[in-house]
């Protein structure tokens, strides 16, 4: 067993320690560590919810605990698990992929991470300080006002999300400037890897969306702490203002979570198909289109509010439009695989799984964009099923694909492929078993966020199946964690370029040295490393 330096290949005696590192790779690992930890916490909360719902009229947990669990589960998974995981991979990989020695502002990068983490800790501190927020992840007013949520949970929600959001905004500024100004010679914006493109678009989305959340949080703070009336109907305020502001953030947030994962599989699929991506420009441009449209669809979360038929029709139309650029990407990935020499590694399995599951989530999304359908199933388990197909079936599978793909670059060791297969198939089975039945439950009328249900509803069997699926999903995650820990210690040595990769991160050592590259690379195409390895088959400049 050869000792391999983890995360960064530093000369002996030059380690700086996690607390004061400003290296983008180590900060990336910190972000990923944060994401993994909160993913585990959010997963435990989800298991608690599923255990309570496994049978009708159960009382495993009390209703108050249940409300806190689904609220914190949502906030955790979205803001403290998925976003840090994606930002972490972007932090580690973007400078490597564009041939830069670091991000534009290394110290600011550390600040972003620590703010994000402290925001998460503040939210979880609420459990010790008299109870977590219990108003749902989107914390609708007036429920979230002091009159109806008198505890301190919502206050910790406000503070935690504001601090976490500040970290995310600063991180987005850093990534955007890095991508715009730090590319190596020859790395035109039309040549950067698609993961970099998606990170750039995501940064723009963060910069446009998060400030609306911060503004809404400030207003809620004024209402709760200074006696304000922004969302207080008895004082002339309008609760619907919260919904507008929240979803102006909330819907772009979905694409903030999905686009980087799409970027990951846009790296994985070409490499394991031995072909360049089909329609690079379309993948990039369709992301810009998605980003643009995503700021004009927020009220599809509010069809049942009663905004009026005209408003609903407009937001219905814009929501359906998003299916077009999204569909473009699906065809790009499939066309990349057609005629390729496929290598079905664990990374590739997860990438293909992403396509299949995301299509289901996308189709139920288009269905929900139809106002009458939405009115029939709004706030039901159908919506829960839809969003999990997008965010777990889509984003999380994409993140797993990225993890199997890049783990060897970050650690110098490969993840175990055998365990990877177990991880994939258990995840695939567990995920579908958990969430597919929820479509039927929602269509049958089971509301989301209910603590329990009567046996006479007949929802028991499908709920039991869903809970069994969740247990399988939990086992799959245990397999993954075992794989991570085992491979960190004793995984097969990867070498610099285990996948015969295309992009610059594979041209340096695994893990890379602190300065990333011995000399700043110069590139002439979209697959710089491929060109270097196969000069006879290089891409046309």
């Amino acid at each position: 067993m050869t000792a391999v330096p983890l995360w960064v290949r530093r000369p002996a005696g030059e380690r700086v320690g996690w607390l004061r590192t400003v290296d983008h790779k180590e900060i990336g690992v910190l972000y990923i560590g944060m994401g993994v930890a909160f993913f585990a916490l959010g997963g435990v909360e989800a298991l608690l919810l599923r255990a309570q719902l496994a049978s009708p009229e159960a009382s495993l947990v009390d209703p108050e605990t249940f409300n806190q669990a689904f609220t914190v589960h949502g906030v955790t998974m979205i803001l403290l698990a998925v976003v840090p995981l994606l930002v972490g991979f972007a932090n580690y990989m973007v400078p490597l992929m564009i041939g830069a020695p670091d991000v534009a502002f290394p110290r600011l990068n550390a600040l972003s991470f620590w703010l994000s983490l402290v925001g998460g800790i503040v939210l979880y501190f609420s459990f010790l300080a008299g109870g977590a927020p219990d108003t749902g992840w989107f914390s609708y007013a007036p429920l979230a006002e002091r009159a109806f949520a008198p505890g301190t949970g919502v206050d910790y929600y406000i503070l935690g999300l504001a601090v976490n959001g500040a970290g995310t905004i600063i991180g987005a500024i850093n990534l955007a400037v890095t991508i715009l100004l730090m590319r190596c010679p020859g790395m035109a914006i039309s040549r950067v890897p698609l993961f970099v493109w998606m990170t750039l678009v995501t940064s723009v989305l963060i910069l446009g969306a998060y400030p609306a959340l911060t503004a809404a949080l400030v207003m809620l703070f004024v209402d709760r702490q200074l006696g304000g009336h922004f969302f207080d109907p008895t004082g002339g305020g309008q609760a619907v203002l919260w919904q507008h502001l929240f979803w102006f953030f909330g819907h772009p947030e979905v694409y903030i979570m999905v686009l980087p994962a799409m970027g990951m599989i846009s790296e994985v699929i070409p490499v394991f198909s031995r072909k360049p991506i089909f329609g690079y420009a379309f993948v990039a441009a369709s992301s810009v289109a998605i980003a643009f449209l995503s700021f004009g669809v927020w009220a599809h979360h509010m069809f049942a509010v009663g905004l009026g038929d005209t408003e609903n029709a407009i937001f219905s139309a814009t929501s359906m439009l998003i299916a077009i650029p999204t569909g473009v990407k699906i065809f790009n990935w499939i066309a990349t695989m057609i005629g390729g020499r496929l290598r079905m590694t664990s990374a590739m399995l997860f990438a293909v799984g992403f396509i299949a599951m995301f299509v289901i989530g996308g189709l139920s999304g288009v269905a929900l964009a139809v106002v009458p359908i939405d009115l029939a199933v709004t706030d039901s388990y159908f919506v829960v099923a839809h969003l999990h197909y997008v965010l777990f079936g889509g984003t999380m599978l994409g993140i797993f694909a990225g993890a199997y793909y890049w783990f060897p670059k970050m650690t110098g060791r490969l993840l175990n492929e055998g365990l990877g297969r177990w991880h994939f198939w258990l995840t695939f089975a567990g995920f579908n078993l958990t969430f597919l039945p929820q479509h039927w439950l929602g269509a049958a009328g089971m509301p989301r966020r209910v603590f329990t249900y009567a046996a006479s509803t007949g929802w028991g069997p499908l709920n039991l199946i869903s809970t069994i699926g969740a247990a399988i999903l939990a086992i799959a995650m245990v397999v993954f964690f075992v794989n991570l820990l085992r491979s960190l210690r004793s995984g097969e040595i990867a070498g610099d370029d285990p996948w015969d990769g295309f992009t610059l991160e594979w041209s340096t050592t695994s893990p890379p040295p602190p300065e990333n590259f011995a000399s700043i690379p110069a590139v002439t195409g979209r697959r710089p490393l491929w060109d270097r390895k196969h000069p006879e088959a290089r891409d046309k400049p």
Binding site: L108, I173, P211, A212, L226, G227, G235, L245
Partner: protein, 187 residues
């Protein structure tokens, strides 16, 4: 020598990471203020009578001129890298904040606060958040002033440009806030 000459030229936003970062930050801040301004506008009618009865447009206009003028002094400070102009900018900014504090004291004494009615909620939130941004700008100006005293020409040109951009932004936000909140009472 050549490095010093290059440094003396004013850096371009499209090439300088620090300036580009500040510009992106300002763009993001604009969305934040846009949301707060929209909330004010959405509730304007409910608070209009209170606003007309209690806001002193002329007095605030005079203090606003101090803030608007401070953009001019900031531009002079940045182009000449002059500590004196910087001091003038800080004084004008402080005059503006003093005016705002006096107005707050008067309104609060009259029983109008963030919790009193919808006007107070929206007024204090919008102008208060702007005031906090002015305060942050004053801190940045003071830091630049101190650096200039200590290190003089060794302070990079980009520091002047970056602080200047932020200060102009805070000023521009007030153009919007003053128009919507104060001039809006005249309509």
């Amino acid at each position: 020598m050549s490095a010093a000459v290059a440094d003396a030229r004013s850096p371009k936003i499209s090439h300088n990471p620090n300036l580009l970062g500040v510009v992106i930050f300002i763009a993001s801040e604009s969305i934040f203020f846009l949301a707060i301004v929209l909330a004010y506008v959405a509730y304007r009618d409910a608070g209009l009578a209170t606003a007309r009865a209690n806001l002193d447009v002329v007095r605030t206009a005079i203090f606003s001129i101090a803030l608007f003028a401070s953009s001019g002094t900031m531009a002079m400070a940045a182009s000449a890298r002059s500590g004196a102009w910087l001091a003038a900018t800080m004084i004008l900014g402080a005059v503006f904040l003093t005016g705002q504090a006096a107005e707050y004291a008067r309104l609060l004494a009259e029983g109008i606060g963030p919790g009193s009615a919808l006007f107070g909620t929206t007024f204090f939130t919008l102008t208060g958040l702007h005031g906090l941004h002015v305060l942050a700008g004053l801190v940045a100006l003071a830091a630049l002033f101190a650096a200039n005293l200590g290190r003089g020409r060794a302070v990079r040109a980009v520091a002047w440009e970056a602080v200047g951009l932020y200060w102009h932004f805070v000023d521009a936000v007030w153009v919007v806030v003053f128009s919507v909140v104060y001039l809006g009472t005249l309509l």
